[in-house]
């Protein structure tokens, strides 16, 4: 029997976490982040971690709580601008940072999971991002070589999952989670709801169960919103379109 469902975040990460490991963490901003697994990492006290994650949370939520707890050695991210603690640690030389263009970061993770050693992109050509990297011409345009990324562990967040590990995501909470599910040597997912195998439409499954090693059901999702923007009920013409 293939038993993938674990009792909680702590048990699912027991024996897995090690000082100095590389962890991919899903989410964009605070949307679609594995809240329970982050808390379990905090409680484990493991340190010198390298995180591959688009952002680094805020001061007191998301990966920010691991920063605050002194557990993070390095971030591989695209945007870390919502976090004052990050700023201070970085300026004090207590935190390493490797910035990637967001699309390059997403593609590097996909490549790592898909057995692609490297790929050529126009993104970043002529900028600091391309410094020291090989370039190549395709159809008269210059492309820069970026390499695939993998991790010792991926922690991801999905909406629903079944016992086989099949996952579906909800709205923009999908973001980096599906690629990270393919690029971790061990993949632990937290879901809001565990459903019977067969309950998810097989045409609709975003992450096939093969990619998920362990699964937990979160008991309470805070799902904090970074920027609540609303429109008045009267004037329905305003808005972001």
């Amino acid at each position: 029997m293939r038993e993938k469902v674990w009792a909680d975040a702590k048990s699912a990460l027991d024996g897995v976490l090690k000082d100095g490991m590389v962890i991919m963490a899903g989410g964009f901003g605070l949307c679609g982040i594995p809240e329970h697994l982050i808390t379990a990492i905090k409680n484990s006290g493991v340190k010198d971690l390298t995180f591959i994650s688009n952002n680094c949370g805020v001061d007191d939520f998301g990966l920010g709580i691991l920063l605050a707890n002194g557990q993070v050695k390095k971030m591989i991210s695209s945007y870390v601008g919502e976090n004052k603690l990050f700023e201070r640690l970085y300026l004090d030389g207590k935190l390493e940072l490797e910035l990637n263009p967001q699309g390059t970061l997403a593609e590097r993770i996909r490549a790592g999971g898909a057995g692609i050693g490297g790929f050529y992109t126009k993104t970043g050509v002529g900028t600091v991002v391309a410094e020291g990297k090989p370039t190549r011409e395709f159809d008269g345009h210059t492309y820069v070589l970026e390499t695939g990324l993998t991790a010792d562990l991926s922690i991801i967040k999905a909406w629903k999952g079944d016992r086989e590990g099949n996952l579906i995501y909800r709205k923009t909470a999908r973001n980096f989670n599906p690629m990270m599910a393919t690029a971790g040597r061990l993949v632990v997912a937290e879901v809001e709801e565990l459903v019977d195998t067969g309950a998810l439409d097989p045409d609709h499954i975003h992450t096939p169960g093969l990619y998920v090693d362990r699964l937990i059901v979160g008991d309470h999702f805070e799902k904090r919103i970074e920027k609540v923007i609303t429109r008045p009920r009267e004037g329905a013409t305003e808005g972001a379109r």
Partner: protein, 218 residues
């Protein structure tokens, strides 16, 4: 009289054609959506993984699983689709976005753009900006004509770290509209804000530009 932010956004909106797929950056570009004429079929993409962005939600109806690339709560519409960030950037990098409208700190006379970092200040990261300028079919920059200090932002060469090279197609400032005849230049002044003079623009612009004010309403 210089254009307001709303007028700049409205000017940018005139570049949007019916049926366009558009990515709007943070800041002044977000105002562009509201400046579109009614009845135009334009879809907005958010690079975290969504096509077809609806208006901001009513109070109490915010969904934490539904945000734009600026991390603001939004809503979906009938045509909305969701996808991963890898697929979102495949869409951008693959040349499928008709238009990207971004803010910027500097633009050079060859269409280089610098809009992600100022050395010495804290590095926040480029986010999706480098992918957007490299991948969108057309790139429009919306920015103030000069810095607060009065220093020009349209330069011979950018002094800040670049976001992309030879990628800008049009620059709309509070004083004027410039376009690049083709990617890489030459830069051409095509429009002045009301009561703004060519001399004023020349004085406030370091970049070399041709003057082609056929469409000017001054």
């Amino acid at each position: 009289m210089a254009w307001t932010r709303e007028q700049m956004a409205a000017r940018a909106a005139r570049q949007i054609e019916d049926g366009f797929y558009v990515n709007l950056g943070i800041g002044i570009p977000t105002l562009v959506a509201n400046a579109l004429p009614e009845g135009m079929d334009v879809s907005f993409q958010s690079e975290n993984g969504m096509l077809g962005i609806g208006p901001f939600p009513y109070e109490g109806e915010e969904d934490p699983d539904l945000i734009n690339a600026g991390k603001q709560t939004i809503t979906e519409i009938d045509s909305t689709s969701y996808f991963s960030s890898a697929d979102a950037f495949a869409m951008i990098r693959g040349g499928h976005m008709d238009l990207s409208i971004l803010g910027s700190m500097q633009v050079s006379e060859t269409g280089d753009i610098a809009n992600w970092t100022v050395p010495g200040k804290i590095v926040k990261g480029m986010g999706g900006a480098m992918d957007l300028v490299a991948g969108a079919r057309k790139v429009i920059v919306l920015m103030e004509h000069v810095e607060r200090s009065g220093a020009p932002k349209l330069l011979k060469a950018c002094t800040l770290p670049l976001t992309g090279t030879k990628v800008v197609d049009m620059v709309i400032t509070d004083l004027a509209v410039f376009e690049f005849e083709k990617r890489g230049g030459p830069l051409r002044l095509i429009e002045l804000a009301p009561d703004v003079t060519l001399d004023e623009v020349k004085a406030k612009t370091e970049a070399a530009f041709e003057v082609a004010l056929e469409k000017a309403d001054a």
